[in-house]
């Protein structure tokens, strides 16, 4: 736990000492903000965060791989991972530390959009319960995408490969329902279960269901386990 914190602190320092954190914050707020307010002015009669919750997952699938791609691949390339592995820290602690750092950064970015909701609430009656559920959904989705990014970054020395792989996985899981068309029976249930957007839609509607939370937590668990194995398997 302590070691995880030390690793996370170093990674967060690296984000904020470089331009990465600022670029992510600015681009995320500009892109989601402009699209959200555009849609708001097109439908002035609806006072809801739903347009934002419809948009944000796509952007998360874009930003999470970008902030996680270097976490392991750059350390593999420079050899610092080797040195880190000779220190008294476990592979999992390293993986967890990097996951925590990227998740904290992404969560900060997500929470920086809270003023959108505050602004809406000034204009009329806003359903704060739905907003809360939506944000919980976004944070879970963002964490799951970060875990996927950490996993793909642990596979390769090449940041471009890492980012492309995690883009692919994140978008695939998000769009899987559209990709398979109109399945039925067990296929439909499997697709539904795998789909990040299906689980997110429940939360965005304001329904906090334990099954959706378990889905995201297991996605995180699987990704981090794979990352831990691939880091440790170098021996």
């Amino acid at each position: 736990m302590r070691n995880t914190g030390i690793i996370a602190k170093r990674e967060l320092g690296a984000y904020f000492n470089s331009v990465v954190a600022y670029i992510v914050v600015i681009l995320f707020l500009v892109s989601t903000g402009s699209l959200f307010w555009l849609s708001y002015f097109q439908q002035l009669n609806i006072l809801s965060m739903r347009p934002y919750f419809d948009l944000a997952p796509m952007f998360l699938a874009f930003f999470a791989p970008a902030i996680t791609m270097g976490l392991f691949s750059s350390e593999r390339r420079s050899g610092t991972l080797d040195l880190l592995m000779t220190m008294p820290v476990s592979s999992f602690q390293i993986v967890a530390g990097k996951f925590v750092a990227s998740t904290v950064l992404l969560s900060v970015v997500i929470l920086m959009t809270l003023p959108y909701a505050l602004t809406l609430s000034l204009l009329g009656e806003l359903d704060w319960g739905a907003v809360l559920a939506g944000y919980i959904g976004l944070l879970l989705l963002g964490s799951a995408y970060c875990a996927i990014g950490v996993m793909t970054s642990s596979w390769t020395r090449d940041q471009v490969v890492a980012v492309l792989l995690s883009f692919f996985i994140c978008f695939f899981l998000y769009l899987i329902q559209q990709l398979v068309g109109q399945p039925s029976g067990s296929t439909a249930r499997i697709v539904e279960y795998l789909s990040t957007s299906y689980h997110f839609q429940n939360l965005a509607r304001g329904v906090i269901d334990l099954r959706d939370i378990v889905y995201y937590l297991s996605l995180i668990g699987v990704s981090l386990t794979v990352a831990t194995v691939s880091i440790g398997a170098r021996k």
Binding site: N3, I6, I7, A14, T80, D82, L83, L84, P88, S90
Partner: protein
């Protein structure tokens, strides 16, 4: 001559290597390497490129797993007590990997934290090591701004920060100018009084300057182990380090001969093939 000193109990020495073997596919990187080192010994680890120096060091630091054999560090088996062993070693890899975007001071703090240096001692340890390695003037600099010499010294600083029992340095002197070399030797000598230092090098002068013992490996086998004087005496009294090195690393066939021969007729002409670096 092929030293097999590892018959003593693991606890008597701070570093005991027993029958270490490692293959990379068909390539035999290490073949039954055995030696033991006591605290206060500074061991020069010598051998041509691809001899297995880095592989040995990577096994000792837990980065690679040996196919056969094991090693004990401070009495702990590296296979079963990896985590504890890692607390007791300091390691400087060959190309000195560092976090380029960090400040030197922040980096040393990070290492102190992750190495488990108690909070109260961190500042004083960092200050002491920075003085020892002459880093005090660059503590506020970003690592990517550092010259090769400073990088090398920062690499050494992170390896000794937590006062490890065994310090493993993989070619730590490449890229240092003569002044830095001298300082570097002084640091190693100071540390080497109490600790075990194992360092690999190509530069033979380094050996005479700091090492009180020499281990030569060639094509994955340990071919010589002893003080420079002992090894010189086994050839002839006037043999230089270069003669010793050439003699033991001449070619594969020579190893068998070396083991049998008591006297060398003529000095074998060094015929070092540039080999594949396995590690």
């Amino acid at each position: 001559m092929a030293g097999d000193k590892a018959t003593t109990t693991p606890t008597a020495h701070s570093l005991v290597v027993q029958g270490l073997s490692k293959n990379f596919g068909d390539i035999r990187a290490l073949h039954e390497i055995s030696f033991a080192v006591k605290p206060g010994e500074v061991v020069g680890f010598l051998g041509p490129n691809g001899a297995g120096k880095t592989t040995t060091m990577k096994i000792l630091t837990g980065l690679l797993r040996a196919d056969a054999g094991t090693a004990h560090i401070a009495g702990l088996d590296i296979r079963t007590h990896s985590r504890e062993v890692r607390k007791k070693i300091g390691y400087l890899p060959e190309n000195v990997p560092l976090y380029e975007d960090m400040l030197v001071l922040d980096y040393l703090h990070f290492i102190a934290e992750i190495r488990g240096v108690p909070r109260k001692e961190r500042k004083s340890r960092i200050a002491l090591v920075a003085r020892q390695t002459d880093l005090t003037s660059v503590l506020a600099r970003t690592i990517h701004e550092l010259s090769k010499g400073y990088r090398q010294r920062l690499g050494l600083a992170q390896a000794i920060l937590h006062e490890p029992d065994v310090i493993i340095l993989d070619e730590p002197t490449t890229g240092l100018d003569p002044n830095q070399l001298r300082e570097f030797r002084d640091v190693i000598k100071t540390i080497g009084r109490e600790k075990t230092v194992l360092f690999s090098t190509h530069i033979l002068q380094e050996i005479t300057a700091v090492c009180n013992r020499l281990i030569i490996i060639h094509q994955g086998r340990l071919v010589a182990d002893g003080t420079p004087e002992q090894l010189a005496a086994s050839l002839d009294a006037s043999a230089s380090l270069e003669d010793i090195f050439r003699h033991y690393t001449a070619d594969a066939g020579a190893i068998a001969e070396v083991e049998k021969e008591t006297e060398v007729e003529t000095e074998a002409e060094a015929d070092q093939h540039p080999e594949v670096e396995h590690a």
